[in-house]
Symmetry: C2
Subunit: 470 residues, 2 copies
Amino acid sequence: MPGTGADETSRSDRVPAGITDMQPRRWMPPQDAISADELEAIHLASLQVLEEIGLDVLDAEARAILVAAGAEASAGTPRIRFDRGLVLDAVRHAPATFTMHARNPARHVRFGGDWLAFAVMGSAPNCSDLERGRRPGTRADFQDLVRLGQAFDVLHLSGGYPVEPIDLHPRIRHLDATADFIRLTDKVFPVYSLGAERNRDGIEMVRIARGIDTATLEREPSIMTIINSSSPLRLDAPMAQGIIEMARHNQVVVMTPFTLAGAMAPVTLAGALVEQNAEALAGIALAQIVRPGAPVMYGGFTSNVDMKSGAPAFGTPEYMKATLIGGQLARRYAIPYRSSNTCAANAVDAQAAYESVFSLWSVVMGGASFVKHAAGWMEGGLTCSFEKLVLDVELLEIVAGLLATGGTPTPPRVGLAARTDGPDLVRRAQRIWKETLAAYQPPPLDPAIAEELDAFIARRKEAGGVRTDY
Amino acid sequence: MPGTGADETSRSDRVPAGITDMQPRRWMPPQDAISADELEAIHLASLQVLEEIGLDVLDAEARAILVAAGAEASAGTPRIRFDRGLVLDAVRHAPATFTMHARNPARHVRFGGDWLAFAVMGSAPNCSDLERGRRPGTRADFQDLVRLGQAFDVLHLSGGYPVEPIDLHPRIRHLDATADFIRLTDKVFPVYSLGAERNRDGIEMVRIARGIDTATLEREPSIMTIINSSSPLRLDAPMAQGIIEMARHNQVVVMTPFTLAGAMAPVTLAGALVEQNAEALAGIALAQIVRPGAPVMYGGFTSNVDMKSGAPAFGTPEYMKATLIGGQLARRYAIPYRSSNTCAANAVDAQAAYESVFSLWSVVMGGASFVKHAAGWMEGGLTCSFEKLVLDVELLEIVAGLLATGGTPTPPRVGLAARTDGPDLVRRAQRIWKETLAAYQPPPLDPAIAEELDAFIARRKEAGGVRTDY
């Protein structure tokens, strides 16, 4: 089947050593939803926004870095204005493809080109399942969802805490949560940008987990962070620090403005996309100024709000078009594109399913590399559902099967539709996650690494963890 | 947005007079799932099948027509073998685009090019709704489903009886059902090929309904029939008669082999597609031999069976790939492509929704023109569900919204997800179809036409209807 044309080398040439064929690859080209002229208009308008309005950068070090690179500060305010040449020269250094390294080389993940990577849902405040209902997240739920992420091969990494473990104190939450990621899964995982100390802890812990030195870690990106600008046109201090800290160590920055047409962005899709693009370019430029060539992704999360309820709309034509145009923008800058598998539904019902498949349709058509929230997302992101996670695994396996080409056998599926143990899909999904958790085995971890990890955590806890006054 | 490249004239040039912009148009090109070489291999293998094995044609007139055109009969058997030149010369006459004429010109439907047309489900033996459960079809249910098909603008035509009205005697069923179509909807509708008399009655009734003479009707295709070959490699007598009768009057033949890999077709998808293509080409060739240039469609309905249950699989990767490759074959012959919106689900649940959206995804990617079974299909075709029909209207409206381009405002939606009158989607769907039926008004019909129609039906009933010994 035809390649995307984006990369002219043959498929086999592009598979880095150690990567098995667990990731699906897109054989159909991405689809352009708007013309080259319309795309250029969004691009130029976003550069004009950065030049004339600028961005509030709430971190002093970030402002100093940007000013040293030629950006213009405004005395007495955090506002930074960016010359378009400065932005474009910086963005040009971002790599078009890169590999993230897991502690198990068979779990390395490739971003860019025609590769797709699916991540467990991230950052839900609540989780839910059929038996126990909807509840705020705990470490026990966090761990179970990480185990499920490990168990299903179609899930390639974690993109965030699947649910927030609120019974872990914020000062030490990132230490215990990162340790859980390392012990319970051998796949790639993230660190939150909530102050540079947390980023540094995450980077150090993944170095320990992989059993490598700092120089190797800086050659081999192994941990990612998601950066959300505070639209409109603001980059908060912890987010700016996250960009700096991660880029400095050549780790992955996923720059994702969250722009809702009709809420924190203009009511038209084009206006919201101009804002998305301005914020994304500014964040990516900062990363590239800190370290030219540092791995970044262009994240799109633009949708519209339901004009009756004010709630974000997902899986709608507007959402799909925003996803497609986001992909066109990312391709314009030759940066891997991050998108999501979202829905607004409150139950694991027909609405949850169709909104998710429409999302996935636009993800594949839009040429996304990294699909965050690929499994578990419910209620516009307020809940990670155990049963929805299983439903999404089924959906992702169908997408992977569609993308399996001549040489690749269609991967086996979780079999949610084919199971005969009950007429009710949600109940079948419940049985599947329960059976999967019962059969779960943690991936082997070198005892010396486990010990070094424990010692690091003990030392950091003894020092009081991190400040929580962000 | 870019056109498909299939038709180089501008969009406005191609809109025939009287057609409003009710049909969505594809702005993204169809996606090729296999290479040109692989496609050619299927094409050549199907021609070889027609040359060396041939097709059992169970109607004497059809055999005579084919033999007169150069096909080879086999003494004492119904087997007809087709020289590839004969097949390809005939198929070449099929038009790449055509318009079907409704009695209301605003409801004309365009097939081919980048147009899409969505039809209400056809030929379900059962119907179901939340209140009354699943039951064999009656005329009352048939009428209600035709009314719903009339009410939703995103449904452009009927592709069959939405449910079989079994309380109408088979001798006169087509007369009353066709009269119901004419009275309850001003959109295009079909006639079944169950013997040439029924085709002739349908053609005459649509002529009366449109208030035109026979010559005009022969210039303006106004009624369609679905032809299913009896795989493997057999064309039953009523089906052959349907092709002859409809083509003779320049009415629309939708030639759709139903080939299930692992059931009545080889277990590999490629093998099943060779069989599909052989049967489709033979039927289309017969139509073109009868009347070169008669409007036809290339129908694809190839899937695999679930190897555990033996039931057909829908909305699976195999189904999607078969749909895509069927589209490639139809484009190879430049004939409008007919596909479907199918699912295997037994309830209006997440499975019904995701299988349907995956079907629609392959329909759009596959470049289909005519989407049969677009609304209401359940249980692999055994049931037309009132609530699923509403769910499908929502799905089709999302697809139409995705396909709405710059100049076209996003069409309004039925609002299944946005409604606040209950948390349960199926119950919301129930309220929507009940409200829609309550608000239904039959489209105006000229009293003189109604009278002529009644007289025709009375005369035909007096004559005893049609034979039922097919």
